[in-house]
Structure formats: structure tokens, C-alpha cells
């Protein structure tokens, strides 16, 4: 026994040694700053002077801050693109799952925007959205439509960024759907065919339920990603768009923190963002438990 426990002790020590870096990293660069954000959100932190406790003042100010409301509204508005992208991605994946020649090539082409840097893509689309010479309006011109100056118009700037985000993310969702579709056993479809089910019935009874976990995964990760949208906004509309109509929550927070050095105030936004994502994740867990229960 002593020999064994010595071995066990050694294994334990090495185990902790191997686990130490990510644990230390998490404590130092995630947990500690998160707690500090929470603490800072209750102060008038400006990075220079003393941090004075001011209670809920930052949160109260946010509540009546019109720019913050706008930024929140814009952020959620742009999430309308999520279901649109989802439907397109599923249709695409179903099209690619039929064994049509060229599937690999299509997969690669649709995936290229995903691997491209968001900064470069934003620059490209900013140019494509140019009112007079941009690709988008020249395309619309083929159909006799006079397109707006997309990014300079407060009504079109959000849909414009949304369309770009759909274009960029489509390949990713498609790939996830395709993987899910390929894992569905052929026998389900053969049975449905024998039963004389039509395409729509097959979709409703087999395909949709089978890809539901992936749909769920995409929705949740897109909401989490969408709530942090920043790069597109910063590059395409460096001032937050006409009448601040494209500024996102993180964009506003970034401006307040690193432009105005209202660190306490932006920490309050940081806390709200973390809270939002925490709730979304929690809902995901709860629903996931429920739906996996349904299947069994």
C-alpha cells in the first residue's frame, strides 16, 4: 500500500502541475478582471484618480442614457439576421447533402468568408455599400432599383451590416447543419419514403427534429456573438453611424472606456453584457436538458 500511495501522490502532483497554467490563466485573466469589473461598476473609476463608491449610480445613469438605449436597440435589431441566416444555412446544407457533384467545391466556396478576417471583410463591404459606385447598388441597378447610400442612411445601415454578417457566417452554420444531416441514418428517410411521405412531411418529421440540437447551438452561439458585435461597426461606421444608428453595445462601451475613460460607467455595461450572456447560457442548459429528455 505505501508504494501505491506514493505513486498516487506523484500522479496527483503532476496532474496539478499540468493543470496549473489554464487554471492560473483563468483566475488571472478572466475571474479576477470579471470581479474587478463588477466592483468597478459601483464606482466612479476613471483610471487615474481614486475609485469612489457611488452605489448604483452608473446603472441608474445607463437607465436614462439615450445613447446606451440606442446601442442596445441596434445590437438586438441586428440579431434579426440570425433566423434568416439559419434558414438559408439549412436550405444550403440540405442542397449539399444530396450527393450532387461539386459538393466539396461548394463547401469550400461558401466557407471562404468564414475564414476571412472580419476587418478585411468589413472594409470590402464598406466599399461594396458605397452609394454611387458600390457593388451592391450596381447590382440593384440591373433591376432598375436605385439603392441608397447604405452606410450613411440611418434606416439602411443596420440591415446593411446584418446582410454582411449573414454572408460571412453562412458557411459556418451550413457546415454544422451538413454534419448533422450526414449523421442522420438513411434508414429513416427510406422508411418515410416507403410510407409515402412527401418532401415536406419528411422534413417536418425527420430532418427538422434531427438537426434541432444544431439549430439550438447556432442560435445560442449567434446570440452570444451578436451581443458582442464590434469590429464591423468600428470599421464600417467609425463614429457609430448616422445619428448613432449602428453603434452596438460593445462599441459604446469601448468608446466610453477608451475614449472618455469613464471606466466605472463602461464597467456597468460590461457587467450587464456578462449577465445577459450568463442568462442565455443558462437558458440553453435548461432547454437542452429538457429537449434531450424529450428524445429518450
Amino acid at each position: 500500500m505505501p508504494a501505491k500511495s506514493k505513486l498516487y501522490r506523484k500522479e496527483m502532483i503532476y496532474g496539478y502541475l499540468f493543470l496549473a497554467p489554464p487554471v492560473i490563466g483563468m483566475l488571472l485573466f478572466t475571474l479576477y478582471p470579471m470581479l474587478y469589473s463588477i466592483y468597478g461598476s459601483f464606482t466612479d473609476w476613471d483610471g487615474l484618480g481614486q475609485m469612489n463608491f457611488i452605489g448604483l449610480d452608473n446603472y441608474k445613469d445607463l437607465f436614462s442614457d439615450e445613447l446606451f438605449h440606442k446601442a442596445m436597440f441596434n445590437t438586438f435589431f441586428m440579431m434579426i439576421g440570425i433566423p434568416i441566416g439559419l434558414v438559408l444555412a439549412l436550405l444550403l446544407a440540405m442542397g449539399l447533402n444530396r450527393g450532387i457533384p461539386g459538393t466539396t467545391a461548394f463547401r469550400v466556396i461558401y466557407y471562404v468568408p468564414v475564414i476571412s478576417s472580419l476587418a478585411a471583410i468589413s472594409i470590402l463591404w464598406q466599399w461594396a455599400y458605397n452609394g454611387d459606385y458600390g457593388l451592391v447598388n450596381q447590382f440593384l441597378d440591373l433591376f432598375g432599383i436605385k439603392g441608397p447610400n447604405w452606410l450613411a442612411n440611418k434606416h439602411t445601415v443596420k440591415p446593411a451590416i446584418m446582410i454582411m454578417a449573414i454572408w460571412k457566417g453562412l458557411g459556418y452554420s451550413m457546415l454544422l447543419y451538413l454534419a448533422a444531416l450526414q449523421s442522420v441514418s438513411r434508414s429513416y428517410y427510406e422508411a418515410a419514403e416507403l410510407d409515402g411521405a412527401n418532401g415536406f412531411q419528411t422534413f417536418r418529421a425527420i430532418t427538422w427534429p434531427m438537426v434541432k440540437p444544431v439549430t439550438f447551438f447556432i442560435v445560442v452561439t449567434s446570440i452570444i456573438g451578436g451581443s458582442q458585435i464590434f469590429t464591423e461597426i468600428n470599421i464600417m461606421t467609425s463614429t457609430g453611424g448616422p445619428e448613432y444608428s449602428s453603434a452596438s453595445a460593445v462599441f459604446y462601451m469601448w468608446q466610453k472606456a477608451f475614449g472618455n475613460f469613464q471606466l466605472g460607467y463602461s464597467s456597468a455595461m460590461a457587467v450587464l453584457l456578462a449577465l445577459f450572456i450568463f442568462i442565455v447560457t443558462l437558458v440553453q442548459f435548461k432547454l437542452n436538458e429538457k429537449s434531450s429528455g424529450d428524445l429518450d
Binding site: E11, S37, I100, L118, L124, A179
Partner: protein
């Protein structure tokens, strides 16, 4: 798959055409970017649009190197992405090995704790992180972009731990009896076995670091320290006023090229490992 006998049914032909139209929409903006980078200013503002320039001007591709710190941007991005992914992969895979194969008390609790830290988004911690790094004088250097990554990546730990469950315990037990050290087991047995998964995860991580934009905007103030993404962002801000779109597009093409090449070379591995993440996630 099975439909080979009716590969070219009417429905499939229709779908094929739709997929082609979709592919055109996906690729056209990128081709537009490439074509613009070779155009004259006249052609850029021509109506109707010019897709194929009269003459493929390569002048902008030599001009970009002096028009902004493009070369140092590439260098900085390489430094950040290589050091983060190489060292981070090492620490991540060691941790995954400990979590999957070693008897460590409370390891599941530790794993859960690491996993739950994924929930905390970067913007929520960026302000205190910024102050932390300012206090140690790392502002306007690459260190704040590098150091946090060296401690590992929870996503990678998650996937490698998952992957390691397929490695039989008996191999590791046998090596222990043979008197191998724990690091020896990792280096000689575990790592070679999980190499494909490590490679795929490393590529995905590399792409993420390479394309990062928010963190560099916070830390880097002098141009010579900019990463590539900041450099082209700056190109865009500076030269759009002069409507020098060929120049901007040429710089953007250069910034896309490395990842595009990586993707085309490793597309099979990348696509597979992304697909796995969905099924497992």
C-alpha cells in the same frame, strides 16, 4: 450519397443551379475586391462597373508596403499568433491529458470551473485587463495580446480531453509500470496519438488570433506595433478619404491571403474539426 442513380434528376439540376447562384453571391464580393486592387482610379468609378481591368496594374501591390506599416503588421501578427498557438497548445494539451488520463482529485470540478469561464465574454473583462497590463507597463506592446493565450485555451482543452477518451487507459498504465515519467508519457505516447486533433484545433485558434481586432485596438497605439488587422483598418480610414480604393483593396487582399492559403491547404481538416465541434457541442 445513395442517390447516385438519379444524380441528375430534375430536382437536383435545379438545386445545382441554385447552389451555383449562391456560390456567385458568396464569391463575387471577394473577386470584386481582387479586381478593384488591379484597377485604375478611373475604372474604379466607371459606370457600368468594370469587372476585368483593361490592364492589370500591379502598382498598388508595390505601393502598399510604403503606404503604411504593412510589413511590420504582418510581422507582429505572426509573432502574436505563433507564440500564442504554439505555447498555448502545449499547455492546453498537457492540461487535457491530466483531465482525461491522470488521477487528480477534484479534476472534474476543475474542468467545470474552466468550462464555465468560457461564459465570460472578452468585453466584460477587457477594462480591468487593460488597467492590469498598463500597470506593468505593457501598454502599446504585443505582450497583452500574447501572455493570456500562453496559459491555454479552454475550447482546445475541451476538445482534446474529449478526443483523449478514445485513447485506451491500458497504454498509459503500461507506460507507468514501465517507469515512464508523466511528462514522458505525454510527449512519447499521448501527444503523437492526438496530433491530428491538436493540429486542427491549432489551425482554428491561429485563425482566431490572426483575425482578432478588438484587443489590438485597445492596446496598440503606435503604428509600428500594429497587428495586420489594425494596419489595414488604418489603411481604410486614411485612404478612403482620398478614394484610393485600389490601394485599400490591395492591402486587404494581402491580409486575407495567408489565411486563405492555410484554409485551402488544410480545408479537409478544418472543415472536419468544425463539424465535430457541432456534433459534440
Amino acid at each position: 450519397m445513395v442517390l447516385s442513380s438519379r444524380k441528375w434528376s430534375a430536382a437536383n439540376i435545379l438545386i445545382f443551379i441554385l447552389l451555383c447562384i449562391g456560390a456567385v453571391f458568396m464569391i463575387a464580393p471577394l473577386l470584386w475586391m481582387v479586381s478593384t486592387s488591379f484597377k485604375t482610379k478611373m475604372e474604379v468609378f466607371a459606370l457600368p462597373p468594370v469587372w476585368i481591368p483593361e490592364e492589370w496594374l500591379t502598382a498598388k501591390y508595390s505601393e502598399i508596403w510604403t503606404a503604411g506599416p504593412l510589413l511590420s503588421g504582418i510581422k507582429n501578427s505572426v509573432i502574436v499568433a505563433v507564440s500564442v498557438t504554439l505555447i498555448g497548445t502545449f499547455t492546453s494539451s498537457l492540461a487535457a491529458f491530466a483531465l482525461a488520463k491522470l488521477q487528480v482529485p477534484h479534476k472534474n470540478k476543475i474542468f467545470l470551473m474552466l468550462l464555465s469561464s468560457i461564459m465570460i465574454p472578452y468585453p466584460a473583462v477587457m477594462i480591468p485587463q487593460f488597467i492590469m497590463f498598463s500597470n506593468v507597463g505593457w501598454n502599446d506592446s504585443l505582450l497583452p495580446l500574447i501572455v493570456p493565450g500562453l496559459f491555454g485555451n479552454v475550447f482546445m482543452i475541451f476538445f482534446l480531453r474529449q478526443y483523449l477518451t478514445s485513447v485506451p487507459n491500458a497504454i498509459i498504465e503500461a507506460a507507468k509500470i514501465d517507469g515512464s515519467s508523466y511528462f514522458g508519457i505525454y510527449a512519447k505516447i499521448v501527444f503523437p496519438l492526438i496530433k491530428p486533433a491538436v493540429a486542427a484545433q491549432l489551425i482554428l485558434w491561429f485563425m482566431g488570433v490572426w483575425n482578432d481586432y478588438l484587443a489590438p485596438t485597445i492596446y496598440l497605439t503606435s503604428e509600428e506595433n500594429y497587428t495586420l488587422q489594425l494596419v489595414i483598418g488604418n489603411f481604410n480610414a486614411m485612404y478612403a478619404i482620398q478614394t484610393d480604393y485600389p490601394l485599400i483593396m490591395a492591402a486587404s487582399v494581402i491580409s486575407l491571403l495567408p489565411m486563405l492559403i492555410v484554409f485551402l491547404v488544410f480545408q479537409k481538416q478544418i472543415i472536419e474539426s468544425v463539424a465535430i465541434s457541432a456534433v459534440k457541442g
